[in-house]
Symmetry: C2
Subunit: 362 residues, 2 copies
């Protein structure tokens, strides 16, 4: 049974864009959002790609996400911005502020922005990649729905709070780390649940805070808000460093939601049907603040080569630099994408309400 469908990458981009316009977004905001979603699929991160269209459309329809997506600048210095997303699309809000950060970093060496009252912004790495395209170092992080249990806790208080850092290199693909600060994202449990497989004890806890191996139970507990949830990177307790993943997650919350006087922890997505109040922290650093692009990108090349030439422990695997696999996917999927049949059907169903159709490639 073929559960995947081939589509033209361009067609998919245009289709998503049109659907978003028909659902109230401006042409500019629709274009940005579609690009963030399709880039995610192109990079092989399906969990954050067009599969999420329904959630955004539902959010726009219910008013939880506002169609107007123009951030308000609350405060601005030569090297920093505090912005209020006013409940608009996370992708648009963040894209627009990142553009400002990039511009300021070019003249003022760096600029960081803390953004409050936004929504889910897709893959963190999209915004670091914006910096990379301009030969700048990029930073991106966001808080998110509380799904992660703090070390020694029994209920979720933190998001999977990803951190992304991007650094240009000369001939190699750039370094582009984009990682949840939990051991795995929720989507990974869904995959195991569908396959009816047990999960490792480092991924999640039951409602009592005890490491769990049944993904279906954990997902149900999370959905019904019974307790438990995902574990921070490093797993349960302190023995294998779970407190470090917890600490990193808190850093993301602070930079995103505290520096902007926004929302953190259990207050994100607090009430169903009300604004999610997601917060982000992004920034761009001009290599000229340090040893300059030429030296830094050449040093990066030598460093990446050193790491990649390290001997591997078997012949099956190699040393991957953060982002490397995703850049290879992006080349592979530049013109044509494989998407899940279920996702293809769902987005076509959404499109059909606006007389839009995404064709498959036979």
């Amino acid at each position: 049974m073929n559960t995947r469908v081939k589509v033209s990458t361009n067609d998919l981009q245009n289709f998503i864009e049109m659907v978003l316009i028909k659902n109230g977004l401006s042409k500019e905001d629709a274009e940005i959002t579609a690009d963030v979603l399709v880039t995610s699929d192109k990079r092989g991160i399906e969990s954050h790609g067009v599969a999420r269209l329904k959630r955004y459309i539902d959010g726009l329809a219910s008013g939880v996400i506002h169609t107007e997506s123009t951030p308000e600048i609350i405060k601005e210095t030569p090297v920093s911005i505090v912005a209020d997303g006013k409940g608009g699309m996370g992708q648009s809000i963040t894209y627009k502020i990142m553009k400002k950060c990039i511009k300021k970093a070019k003249t003022n060496f760096m600029c960081f922005a803390s953004i409050r009252n936004s929504n889910h912004y897709g893959i963190a790495g999209y915004y670091t990649k914006m910096a990379l395209k301009e030969n700048l170092i990029g930073i991106s992080m966001t808080n998110s729905a509380p799904l992660v249990v703090p070390t020694f806790g029994k209920s979720a208080a933190l998001g999977t709070n990803p951190i992304s850092v991007g650094v240009p290199s000369k001939t190699n693909k750039p370094f582009l780390l984009d990682m949840a600060t939990s051991t795995v994202p929720r989507g990974k449990l869904e995959v195991y649940s569908r396959k009816d497989e047990k999960i490792p004890e480092f991924w999640a806890t039951d409602e009592n805070g005890i490491p769990a191996t049944d993904p279906t139970m954990v997902l149900k507990n999370m959905l019904d808000r019974i307790g438990g949830g995902l574990l921070p990177l490093g797993g349960s307790g302190e023995l294998n460093g779970g407190h470090k993943g917890f600490g990193l997650s808190v850093v993301v919350d602070i930079f995103s939601g505290i520096l902007s006087s926004g929302t953190v922890g259990t207050d994100i997505y607090k009430k169903k049907g009300e604004p999610a109040e997601v917060c982000h922290f992004i920034g761009a650093i001009n290599p000229d603040a340090f040893c300059g692009l030429d030296e830094i990108s050449e040093n990066m090349d030598k460093y990446i080569n050193m790491l990649k030439n390290t001997e591997t422990y078997d012949n099956k695997n190699k040393i991957y630099i953060a982002g490397e696999k995703e850049f290879l996917f992006e080349e592979k999927y530049a013109n044509q994408l494989d998407i899940q049949k279920q996702v293809f059907d769902t987005i076509n169903e959404i499109g059909s309400k606006s007389n839009l159709k995404l064709n498959k490639i036979d």
Copy 2:
């Protein structure tokens, strides 16, 4: 058998300072270094405290560490510094540059420094704490001797590369994360080796890159440079997020050693008897770059209280905020410290060569 000795914290500070002066450091550099070491012991991080005195003294004696510890400013912008430590004491070099970062952050909203050609700088958190004392947000990271095996690798290519972030709060202790990006530091293996206990499979590998449980074998392999080493946070492979710890470790190397055109990866401590070329990245962020100290420190208080009030999974543990345990130790040990008898004897032996003596408290 009492294996610990009580000493006056002040006496210890003065003793270390005098020993360092007798071994060639200036009064200022000796004072800084002694404070970094004793602060580490006060914060309960004995692995990075006065127990390391011998290594520094040996380094100074052999010329691997230079007694002259005045960093050269290679480049400076309103918000950044590139400095060359010229092989001086890591503590002094970093302290002096952090002072400059703090000064610049007060007027220019933030300042970050990338420092090359330095030496082991003690606990990363010392420099973030310097920022906290000035009501600024602090950042500190450093690369270090290659002891950590990259994901899918079989030999060490990265240091335990710690990351520290500090954020002020109003009435609670500040948030002060200070974490190695490996699952555990080498010292943890030494503790298990002395107790002849097995280590969890997430900590280290044998010479073939396979997770190991015998700490003595791993330590011997590391010492003899046979192969294997510590595992990144998240353990072996990608299943439990080991690639994330690896990625974070690379970020530290880049910010410390690449942005400064310094030394990274396997080139740190490359040749015995030659300069270690350790690199650091530090910085201070003025809360006024974002929502200001009042709002941020009040928000931090509410946030920390929310996390600490999360229900725990048993009655033995509680939710600890990063740095909390260490701040409690620091209060407890303000006047009097317990140090290992072996450490007491070693530092007294070093002192005796300069007719210096540290008294114990009976």
